[in-house]
């Protein structure tokens, strides 16, 4: 399998002195589905945003699809960013535009001059966008304003926009944190399905351990800007979890069957 991403001893210091990333190294291959878990402030969002240089790293190197993104600028940076789709917790849509327009935003990176500025997309792109919207079950909303949709539907638009980029890597920053359990499952199923069908590598920031265990092929545990766990989900023991979150297992609210059993036991 081809390598798609490589972190080499990446350090990110914020001007206020916080070390968000403190020597992070890992590699990622095509077809992997990695979940990044860790407490708030452990550097998960920073990690994700350094991959497409939304945040500039202080030291180390990030190699994306064979190219160092850390020293790219301007046009080269933009064309490298196209290879990386991103999905956000707050969906980050342009709410005053239609669903179709939002999905087509995924093509902007490929467009030049006034066509890109005025949003004059090719018929081919429009056809592709519409079929993608249909695939995600939003066909009756294609011409609705994005603000009219529910949370789960907005996130599906976010996925469609990212897929329109034809990315090699998909970054998801807590994609289900603001969704109800049923929409959250739809979104995770879609992410897994869309990425494996198109051979897109995927990194997901998550707070839900059970979701991470169920969907990912590999889990990275971050704590205070350092990787403290990096292995397959079946290796994620109670000890490892305690190390990641820095507290004992009983103090964690965990979803999934195990804790449900305990809950019912406690109630009885």
């Amino acid at each position: 399998m081809k390598q798609i991403l490589k972190f080499e001893n990446v350090i990110k210091r914020y001007p206020n002195g916080v070390h968000a990333l403190n020597g992070v190294s890992f590699e990622m291959k095509e077809g992997e589905f990695i979940s990044v878990i860790g407490p708030s402030g452990s550097g998960k969002s920073t990690l994700l945003r350094t991959i497409n240089k939304l945040i500039t790293i202080s030291e180390g190197t990030v190699v994306l699809d064979g190219e160092k993104i850390s020293d790219k600028k301007g046009k080269a940076l933009r064309s490298l960013r196209r290879k990386v789709g991103m999905i956000f917790q707050n969906y980050n849509l342009v709410y005053s535009l239609s669903v179709l327009q939002n999905v087509l935003h995924g093509r902007l990176g490929f467009m030049k001059g006034f066509k890109g500025i005025f949003g004059i997309y090719s018929e081919e792109d429009k056809k592709k966008a519409l079929s993608l919207i249909k695939e995600l079950g939003l066909e009756q909303f294609a011409y609705n304003r994005a603000s009219d949709l529910s949370g789960g539907q907005k996130q599906r638009v976010g996925i469609a926009r990212a897929i329109m980029q034809e990315p090699k890597l998909l970054l998801c920053d807590e994609p289900i944190a603001s969704l109800d359990p049923s929409s959250a499952k739809t979104i995770m199923d879609l992410l897994k399905d869309m990425t494996s069908k198109r051979n897109i590598a995927c990194i997901v920031n998550l707070h839900q351990l059970d979701v991470a265990m169920k969907y990912s092929t590999r889990i990275i545990g971050l704590s205070k800007g350092k990787i403290v766990f990096d292995d397959t989900p079946d290796k994620l023991t109670e000890e490892a979890i305690e190390k990641i979150y820095g507290t004992s297992y009983e103090n964690l609210m965990l979803g999934g069957e195990k804790s449900e059993k305990e809950d019912s036991f406690n109630c009885a």
Partner: protein, 266 residues
């Protein structure tokens, strides 16, 4: 001695007391400094009232031949306010893009842009008008420029804040698709901020209707100039009817902009 139970915290009471004392002291100091005595209003009350009842009341319409001229001067004032605000808004939109650290392609310049806007804004339109009259002469053109400068400066600030509130998230998402700065502006910032921009624009129109009347009085043309010419000729009763006309104009414009703003929020 029995101590009364206080209703509010001791510290708060102290602050209220200090505040009241400061207000009284300030009033006394200002009265002395300005040589203004409130009592003079009461003692000279007769002259004041007779001025109002004899000279101002009842309002009198200007000569029939003059009425079309007065009405067209109202239109001039309205046009002055609308056109200056529109031009200022278009300029402000472009400049505001460079006034926000989060949006601008040159974040380091953002502070300079905002500082410049603040500087322009802190000089009132009336002062601009006087400066421009002495250099460019009297006329609606100068009134237009004076209003343009102040509303431009105001809208730069307002637009920058609107952009920072609204568009941070969608700008980030267009960055990740590899969009250029013009693409981010036209595809994310403008659509998501347009209603906010229009709302500020309408507010600015309201302000400029009033301001253009005043700028007109000092030589900028329009209804302000008409009003001032009647006052100069001691025709206070006709002046009053023009004042009422101005009030009517302002009220109508406020109502219209209110309706438009409500429509925008839908």
């Amino acid at each position: 001695m029995k101590k009364k139970i206080p209703l509010i915290a001791h510290d708060l009471k102290k602050i209220y007391t200090i505040f009241a004392v400061v207000v009284v002291v300030l009033f006394i100091v200002c009265t002395i400094l300005t040589n203004f005595n409130v009592m003079s209003l009461v003692s000279n009350g007769d002259a004041f009232w007779s001025f109002i009842t004899n000279d101002f009341l009842p309002p009198k319409l200007p000569k029939a031949s003059r009425i079309p001229g007065v009405l067209s001067s109202v239109l001039v004032t309205l046009a002055l306010a609308l056109s200056s605000t529109t031009i200022a808004a278009i300029l402000a939109m472009f400049v505001a893009l460079f006034g926000s650290e989060k949006v601008s392609p040159f974040p380091k310049l953002a502070k300079v842009v905002r500082g410049f806007a603040t500087f322009l804004r802190n000089i009132p339109a009336l002062v601009w008008a006087f400066i421009l009259f002495s250099s460019l002469g009297i006329g609606t053109g100068v009134g237009f420029v004076a209003l343009c400068i102040t509303s431009f400066a105001f809208m730069v600030r307002a637009f920058v804040e609107t952009m920072e509130d609204v568009s941070q998230d969608c700008v980030e998402s267009l960055l990740t698709v590899g969009g250029t700065f013009p693409q981010r502006v036209s595809q994310a910032i403008l659509p998501s901020c347009l209603s906010g921009f229009l709302s500020w624009f309408l507010y600015c129109v309201e302000v400029n209707i009033r301001a253009s009347t005043i700028v007109g009085m000092v030589g900028g043309g329009g209804v302000g100039m008409t009003l001032f010419s009647y006052i100069k000729n001691f025709q206070y009763d006709i002046a009053l009817s023009i004042i009422l006309l101005i009030a009517l104009m302002v009220i109508v414009v406020d109502q219209v902009t209110n309706i438009l703003r409500k429509e925008l929020l839908k």
